[in-house]
Symmetry: C2
Subunit: 225 residues, 2 copies
C-alpha cells in the first residue's frame, strides 16, 4: 500500500532496493503487567475489597466476571468517580514512564489494552498521555457503571492488522495469553514480565524482564530492515 520514491534512481538497483525496504514501525504495548500493575488486583488492594482480586483464571467467562465485578462495585457504592480516585493512587511500574519516553523518541507507540478508558485515564496521565486503544464503560448520570463496550473482536490482533493496512509494520510486546495474537502477527514480538508457563509454551518468542532489554530488542528489530 505504501509508495516509495528514490531521489536518484540512476544510482542503480542497490539504492532502489534499499528504498523499497524502508519500513515504518509502530510498537504496540500491552498495559497491565507491562507498564502498570494489574488494575483490578491493584484496585482490590487500594479499595480494600479482596473479592475484586478474582481474574479470568478463576472465572474464564469474561461477561460473568465483569457482572460479578460491577455487582461488587454497586454493593460498595463505588461509582466511576470513586473508582477513578482509587485508581489515581496506583502508580505505573518503576521505570515505565522513562521507558515510554525513550521509546516514543524513536518509534511511534500505541498501548493496546483490554481495560476500559475510564480506568486507564488516571494512569495515562502519570505516563505522559500516551495513546491507548482499549474499551469503554457505560456510566449512568448518577456515576454508577451500568455496562461496558468491547471495541472490537480479538482487539489486539485486529488492531495490529489495521495498522499494517495503513503502511506500518508492528512490533508488539505483552505478558499474557491475550497478547499472543498481536505478538505473532507482528514483524517482531516479545514477551515481557510474562509467566513461566507462557515462556515455556512459547520458547520461540524472546522474553525479557527489564525495560532496558525490551528497548534494546525493539531498536534491534527496527535496525534489521
Amino acid at each position: 500500500m505504501s509508495i516509495e520514491r528514490g531521489m536518484d534512481e540512476s544510482d542503480g538497483s542497490k539504492e532502489k532496493r534499499k528504498l523499497e525496504d524502508k519500513v515504518m514501525y509502530i510498537t504496540c504495548l500491552d498495559m497491565e503487567g507491562v507498564l502498570v500493575p494489574e488494575i483490578w488486583i491493584a484496585f482490590a488492594e487500594a479499595s480494600g475489597i479482596p473479592e475484586l482480586k478474582k481474574t479470568t483464571r478463576d472465572e474464564p467467562d469474561y461477561d460473568k466476571l465483569m457482572q460479578y465485578r460491577l455487582d461488587i462495585l454497586k454493593e460498595h457504592g463505588l461509582g466511576l468517580k470513586e473508582i477513578q480516585e482509587t485508581i489515581a493512587k496506583i502508580d505505573p511500574m518503576p521505570g515505565a514512564k522513562e521507558f515510554l519516553d525513550e521509546l516514543r523518541s524513536f518509534c511511534q507507540v500505541i498501548i493496546l489494552s483490554d481495560t476500559f478508558e475510564q480506568f486507564a485515564t488516571p494512569l495515562m496521565k502519570k505516563l505522559g498521555w500516551p495513546t491507548i486503544f482499549c474499551n469503554t464503560l457505560e456510566v449512568a448520570e448518577d456515576g454508577s457503571i451500568t455496562g461496558y463496550k468491547m471495541r472490537c473482536e480479538k482487539s489486539k490482533y485486529t488492531t495490529v492488522k489495521a495498522l499494517q493496512s495503513i503502511g506500518y509494520e508492528t512490533i508488539a510486546s505483552g505478558d499474557s495469553f491475550n497478547d499472543l495474537g498481536m505478538i505473532q502477527a507482528s514483524r517482531a514480538g516479545f514477551l515481557f514480565k510474562s509467566t513461566e508457563q507462557i515462556k515455556k509454551d512459547y520458547p520461540q518468542i524472546p522474553a525479557y524482564e527489564e525495560y532496558d532489554e525490551l528497548l534494546a530488542a525493539i531498536r534491534a528489530a527496527m535496525a534489521q530492515e
Copy 2:
C-alpha cells in the same frame, strides 16, 4: 464490529439502546498550520534558504517539489542531522501544547500529517510525544537524504477509515485541502486556522481560529452520542 453488553438488560429497551449508542472517539489532527508552523517555510527561515519556501501552490507535482527541495538541501550540505538541529529551533504554535494536553485528558488523539517522521520528531518532543502517523525519509549512512516513502495512498482518509474499522468514531480537524477527506469521513469535522477560500468553499464545515473553540467543539461532538 464492536460488542456492547448491558449489565442489567432487564431494565428494558431504553437502557439497552443507550448502550448500543455508546461511542469511542479518536480525534485526528493535522499538524502543520494547526499545532506547528508550516515546516518547510519555518525551515527556510531558520536555515536562511528562501528557495525552500516553494510549496505545492507553486509546484503542484509533489515528486518534483520534493526532488527540488532535496537537491537544495544537498547543495547546502544539509543532512538529516543539520535539518533536525534547525527544526529543533522551531516552536509549536502558542497554546498548542496546552491544547493537546487538555485534549488528551478526555479523548484519544492521533496526529495525521503528510510530513516525515524525521522532521516531526523534534516538534513532537516539544509537544510531549503525541502519537503521529506520517511518512518517512530514506537517509544514507553519511546522513544525506536519498529518498522518501509515503505511508499509504490518501493517507489521512485511509487512516480514519482504518480507525473506524477497529471500533472508533473519528473527529477530525485541519486547515488544508488534504484534510478535507478525513474531515468529511468523520463523525464530526472542523476547519482550524484555514484559508478564507477553503472556508468559503466549504461553508458546511464549522471553522475555528482558537484552540478553546476547537476544544469546545470536540467536547460537544462527543457529548452528542
